[in-house]
């Protein structure tokens, strides 16, 4: 087996526990059922949340000595970084698929699955995973204090969630806020998912996709640099 696959196997084993599944699957479903809206927003939100995994893995590995242990084993830093990307990609895709499947019966009237649905949702999952995973990685490599990671990452992600179109539409929101929405990558992510599920693709969404992937690549480069320079 390839070293990256072995690391992904290990990452999934240590991350997929009860707490995570509740947060990742049950909570969004309750939200959809209770609130009865924000279907695509919830998918975007979920993709972003699943990337928390990469931050948590890096943070825990540094705190509990596994980062160094892995790097004196049969792995390189590139293997380690790639395994994190694949891990969040897998978790992001699976949870997006779960929410799509479970939410579908509720929204079947407005949902218009079409030729673009799957490519767009997959695109959103992959680019969103890389983008937010890089943000989580950057934070986890920069922090030194022992308990700070969860607080910081949750604050940042909550901010992304609420200053975006994940939970309410951009139309009708007052001015400074609706501009702020478009400074937020989660808005782009949710728009792409929405276009996929409700079949309203436009040029604007196309531009959003380009922005999304460009931002993801820039942040990924920074995260990789930081991780490969991390002092041991």
């Amino acid at each position: 087996m390839h070293p990256v696959i072995r690391l992904v196997n290990r990452n999934l084993t240590i991350s997929l526990n009860k707490g995570f599944l509740i947060w990742q699957v049950i909570f969004p479903l309750i939200y959809i059922f209770v609130a009865g809206f924000a279907y695509s927003g919830m998918i975007g939100f979920n993709i972003m949340n699943s990337t928390l995994i990469s931050g948590i893995i890096i943070w825990n590995d540094r705190r509990h000595g596994m980062f160094e242990q892995i790097l004196v084993g049969p792995f390189t830093r590139v293997h380690y970084i790639l395994s994190n990307v694949y891990t969040i990609g897998i978790v992001g895709l699976i949870s997006a698929a779960l929410i799509t499947a479970v939410g579908y019966p509720l929204f079947f009237k407005s949902v218009e699955f079409n030729f673009y649905t799957i490519p767009l949702v997959v695109f959103a999952s992959v680019s969103g995973s890389i983008l937010f995973g890089s943000i989580a990685s950057i934070i986890s490599t920069r922090l030194q204090s022992s308990e700070g990671f969860n607080v910081v990452i949750n604050t940042v992600f909550l901010f992304f969630a609420f200053v975006s179109t994940a939970f309410y539409p951009a139309e009708g929101t007052p001015e400074p806020l609706s501009t702020a929405f478009y400074l937020n990558p989660l808005t782009y992510l949710v728009d792409v998912v929405r276009a996929g599920i409700f079949g309203n693709f436009s040029t604007f969404v196309g531009i959003e996709m380009i922005v999304l992937i460009a931002l993801a690549l820039i942040l990924f480069t920074i995260a990789t640099k930081l991780l490969s320079k991390l002092e041991l």
């Binding site: 690391l7 290990r10 509990h64 000595g65 596994m66 160094e68 049969p74 792995f75 390189t76 041991l232």
Partner: protein
Amino acid sequence: MSCIVANSLSKSYGSIMAVDGIDLSVNSGRIFGFLGPNGAGKTTTIKLLTTLIAPTSGTINILGIDAIRQPLDVRKKIGVVLQQPSYEPTLGVEKSLEKYGMMWNVERKTRKDRVEELLSAFDLQEIRNMKNDDLSIGQRRRVQVAREFMHDMDLLFLDEPTVGLDPSARRGLLDFVKKKVKEGLTIFFTTHILNEAEYLCDEVAIINKGKIIAVDTPDELKNKFGREKTIKIRIPETKKDVSGLLVGIKDYEIDLNSGTNITIRSNDSEEVLLKILQILNVNNIPIEDLSVMPTTLEEIFLTVVNNSNASGN
């Protein structure tokens, strides 16, 4: 065959020379002890040899591979137990051994057998289902050391593996290590517990302030640095003035509690002993007990390190 060769190896952190131009050569199939006071550079040396950090200068060859050019090839063949704890907090003991084997690409069947072997060799049966997060410090250390034996390797680095272990766990670990060496493993081992090194090591190096100040077998080191011996003579209570009789003889102490004890501490202890025995014989004083204290590695360590500090190296 040498399986570790390092030449003029240095590592500096700013103005600190953590490792300062050391040369090392360790032969296969042996246990090499690396001793030195806190901050001497032991861990830094291990991190250099295991490719975790890059040297400031010097060359490293591990198992015939250039460790600076081909670090991954080196890492595939070695095992490392770092001084710092490492564990997966959310996994159970058994599961974490199993997963570690998987990470090393060990076959499932072999993994299963090794987990059982190690759980019993390291006395972990009772805690096999406990989460690593819930273990005591010593239990966690045992799991960390055991885990490293999940995979095959030619050379194992152990950085103070026995810290935090109780005496029986410590002895168990040392004996397990000895057994593995008989099967062909080479070990590079640091410790502060000198009789552990004496029990285990074929060869030891003493490092101080980044420089190696002595390398040899424990016995040779004792010969070289352990000329000063301690000899104790016990004689029954007597009315004679023993101290008066021994006037003029150097390097001895007399203690009059519960009989008379004479302690000789000298570089020429045999000569001093002869003179004292003659005087006792002439004066008809019998000897109740005579003992020679063996020199320990601990004494050598203290002597060598103190000498090195005094000479400003």
